[in-house]
């Protein structure tokens, strides 16, 4: 027997062995072109001479056509938008966002008490500073200055002596011992003798020096007498 004859005989043998059960098992894959060339050939040959299998295969083709004809269910109109919104929420609540949100949520209940506390503190300081300011006017000559700054003040008859000269404005610099070490007559009598007398009075006069936190410091004082009559 020739090689061709043996091959034909072998193929016929396989076709004889290929029964309806085997054919039907392969029909689904055959429709998707997922069978081998040999299996496809055997199936085609079997179906060509087997009416029930022919009907079965036709049934699979009809089923496929029917499935293709079934319309897809309607997609909810808002699904696209809702999905994007949900995605957006998920994206904003990532680790950093979540941490920020947690901190914000943690601090939120304390906001009102903290703001109230700060305001109360500011108000208390305001009240205390007001009290210090008010006490400046009540400080006696021998009292130690506990507030920030006190102006220098003339001692003894100096003021009344100066007031006798009429309209007068003098700018004096006072050291920390209360002595005048420089001065300028800004306005007053033009008489040179009066000027000399004025210089002597100022140089001999004594002042309570300016105080900062109770310590004497050099300062400047402008004394002005306008419309004073003895």
């Amino acid at each position: 027997m020739t090689a061709l004859g043996m091959a034909v005989r072998k193929a016929l043998g396989r076709l004889e062995d290929f029964d309806c059960r085997q054919a039907q098992e392969r029909m689904s894959a055959f429709l998707d072109s997922m069978t081998s060339d040999e299996e496809s050939g055997l199936l085609r040959a079997h179906v060509a001479c087997c009416l029930p299998c022919q009907r079965q295969l036709q049934g699979y083709v009809s089923l496929r056509r029917f499935i293709a004809s079934v319309q897809m269910p309607d997609v909810p109109k808002a699904l696209d938008l809702e999905t994007r919104i949900r995605l957006s929420h998920a994206r904003t609540t990532d680790f950093i966002g979540e941490l920020g949100l947690r901190i914000e949520n943690m601090l939120k209940p304390h906001t009102v008490p903290v703001v109230a506390g700060v305001l109360a503190t500011v108000m208390c300081f305001g009240f205390l500073l007001g009290s210090f300011g008010a006490s400046m006017g009540r400080l006696g000559p021998g009292d130690a200055a506990l507030f920030l700054y006190t102006q220098p003040r003339a001692r003894g008859p100096l003021i009344s002596q100066l007031a006798e000269l009429g309209d007068l404005t003098v700018d004096v610099n006072i050291d920390q011992k209360g002595k005048v070490y420089a001065g300028v007559i800004l306005n007053g009598p033009q008489d040179p003798e009066l000027h000399q007398w004025l210089r002597d009075v100022l140089l001999l006069g004594t002042f309570d020096p300016a105080m900062v936190y109770g310590h004497p410091v050099p300062s400047r004082l402008i004394l002005s007498f306008v419309g004073v009559k003895s």
Partner: protein, 218 residues
């Protein structure tokens, strides 16, 4: 709250070798957290994921929920996408994992629902009674026939086990290849082939009464 973005780099573009250039670029943009890329992804795939979920779960609200969950999971796990399969295959892998979890949960908790096709249609956003068809739309008869066909197909699908239903939906409705179905469901090609053969045979058997009335030889 301000959004944080990462700039794209060449390494992002080279990380997904198997995908097309457009898909590679889209994946890189998703990784960079670009808003427009996520919008593009949702627009392109939300309908097909919803359809698959609806066919599997037979519940419009749950199908919509699954669709939203899939995209949130994509955002959370986009760094894990290696590009061995297409982005669509990866999306369906996430979707079917979620869907099958819900099916199993429902089965464990013995949830049985009475489904009204009119109710589902209203939930699906039609917003009017089933037979109140707009003038420019199909006639009531055509609409009724469409609903009956849809109901018959959904009934037949529902009678399959979830394994067989999954492969039938992925192959005959979504058009995935056997290799892609194997990737999505995490099974071998041989299993896909045998499950699909069984699923189609069962579907045919369940649809014979309906199709005979319609005059279709099956």
């Amino acid at each position: 709250m301000p959004m944080l973005y990462r700039e794209l780099s060449y390494s992002d573009l080279s990380r997904v070798d198997g995908a097309s250039h457009d898909e590679t670029l889209l994946v890189a943009r998703l990784r960079a957290g670009e808003n427009a890329a996520y919008d593009e992804l949702v627009r392109a795939h939300h309908a097909s994921i919803y359809h698959a979920a609806y066919r599997m779960l037979r519940n419009a609200a749950e199908a919509a929920d699954v669709t939203q969950d899939v995209f949130v999971k994509v955002f959370r796990h986009i760094e894990g996408f290696r590009g061995e399969a297409s982005l669509r295959t990866w999306l369906f892998r996430i979707a079917f994992s979620e869907i099958l979890n819900r099916v199993r949960w429902s089965r464990r908790h013995c949830l049985h629902r009475t489904i009204s096709i009119e109710g589902e249609a209203e939930k699906a956003g039609e917003g009017h009674a089933p037979l109140q068809v707009p003038d420019e739309g199909p006639s009531p008869e055509v609409e009724l026939e469409r609903r009956e066909t849809e109901e018959a197909f959904q009934d037949a699908l529902w009678k399959l086990s979830e394994e067989h239903r999954s492969v039938a939906i992925l192959r005959d409705i979504q058009g995935f290849s056997y290799a892609e179905i194997a990737e999505i469901l995490g099974i071998s090609m041989g299993t896909v082939k045998s499950r699909l053969a069984r699923a189609r045979s069962e579907l045919k058997r369940h649809l014979i009464p309906y199709l005979s009335v319609q005059g279709i030889d099956i």
